[in-house]
Amino acid sequence: MAETKLRDQRDLRLRESEQPHSPVMHFGVDEPLRLDAGVSLAPFQIAYQTYGTLNAERSNAVLICHALTGDQHVANVHPVTGKPGWWESMVGPGKPIDTERYYVICPNVVGACMGTTGPASLNPETSEVYGLDFPVITIRDMVRAQAMLLDRLGIETLFSVAGGSMGGMQVLQWAVSYPKRVFSALPLAAATRHSAQNIAFHEVGRQAVMADPEWRNGRYFADGTRPHRGLAVARMGAHITYLSDAALHRKFGRKFQDRENPTFSFDADFEVESYLRHQGSTFVERFDANSYLYLTRAMDYFDLAADYDGVLANAFRGTPTRYCVVSFTSDWLFPTSDSRAIVHALNAGGARVSFAEIVTDKGHDAFLLEEPELFAIVRGFLDGAGRARGLNGAKG
């Protein structure tokens, strides 16, 4: 019974990567996505979700960029997990990113597995799943694909681009690649490059996937296996980095799971162990292991200053975009110092920038959680930008 349910859920996820529960834009062989790796991806498709209404001037579009394991289902029930959208606290009617005022678009990134072309998609040349034949992609490739989507949707300028973590990387890349298309930018818990420590964590995750005998060099679809154990371990390790020592202690402490005493075994005696195992096992039902490899790689390669002789300020020189940078005190994955580096470069480039650090013990994941101060800042920033943009309905 449980086995059947599991298989159903896997099938659901597989179907989701080809025919998702959201609109899809198809790009033919004549519209290739040119990748930083030097090759092109064609044909390809982008699955995306929209909320709200585009105004007559087409000036109220807000692009949401999702994080590593996120997807386009920002503010609707997730088609695979049945859970609420990942940013429902931030996006929706009357929320800080107000869908009654803004037209919100969130595309699934290239390389992911919820409907946009990625390693779990069918390779039209072989009619088999891409697997490791999928080209390595970068944050810039993701943004380039999103720009093609917006061209197709007839949206020239974005009122705002917002996102946290890997989403924040895309926000920064958007502002640098297409400064004239981005009126305001909200990079949250982000950085302009992935640190050595973060690359190291990602490498551990990838090695966990690859060490799973069921991974089969990425050809697990053809072999009918799934590297669930490896991916679950990768997720467990990564999940720790999204939290903080204080948050883990507050939530779990040293409490035992459904027992009074230790069992003197390697069972999940501690609540925190049980929690992590749960995180791992639910994650593998909705995420493709190869996608995890590709997306973590894209983050590792991200270094915004690299194209500007290592001088970050040059990336932002003369930028017309308004920025609001936010970091969280307990975020040790993308610490405040990373956000400060963004702010210093923006200041040196003469940009209009706001920066706030929010006190919380919730770690890197704080940008996804209930943080009233974050909501007030995002709302205030967008209100101010809306006034400057002359958006109707911007509150005075």
Binding site: R322, D383, R387
Partner: protein, 219 residues
Amino acid sequence: MLMRARRDLTMAEAARGTGGARLDHLLVADMVEPGSRVLDVGCGDGELLKLLEARGVDGRGIELSREGVNECVAKGLAVIQGNADTDLADYPDDAFDYVILSQTLQATQHPRVVLEHLLRIARHAIVSFPNFGHWKIRLLLMFLGQMPTTANLPDTWYDTPNIHFCTIKDFRALCNVVGAKMEKAVALDPWGRPLRFNAPWWFWNLLGEQAVFLLSRRV
């Protein structure tokens, strides 16, 4: 008499100009050319920046307190969390037309370095500070024999952010040391009103409760 001195200071604190703007803010805002680029260092709750933006100024702010920053950003102002002592160094030369340091100089670790940075990143600096040479403060120190606490400066010596008090005379000396040209100087009475313009410096140093200087680089 000491009681009276304290009451006067309270009245000065409460002084407000038209439209609810603080008198010292209006005074500073009048020194700024409309349409210029301004950095307000220690911008607090952002009220001065709001006043400046209403006058068509492109304003930015730096504020130390998290609450202040978050309040400013929520008002739609471009404000970053930072510190005059450490963060001014990151701004390029001539990034702004004016930089404002309002009631903050006395709280910095290195007032001289801060002042030099102000004159590096903007053509003009507007600096305001409480005048520790004011006669009431002199009296409090003389008769009570302890560090004065007033309505405007209520903190005890062991629990104050103000670590580098100076008088108007002291500040003028610092301006000479760093090569700043004093374009305009205004001392304010206890009610926040500018003192008679042609008074001699010693008079201002005695009767000005706070002072506002418009400085520029000596070319």
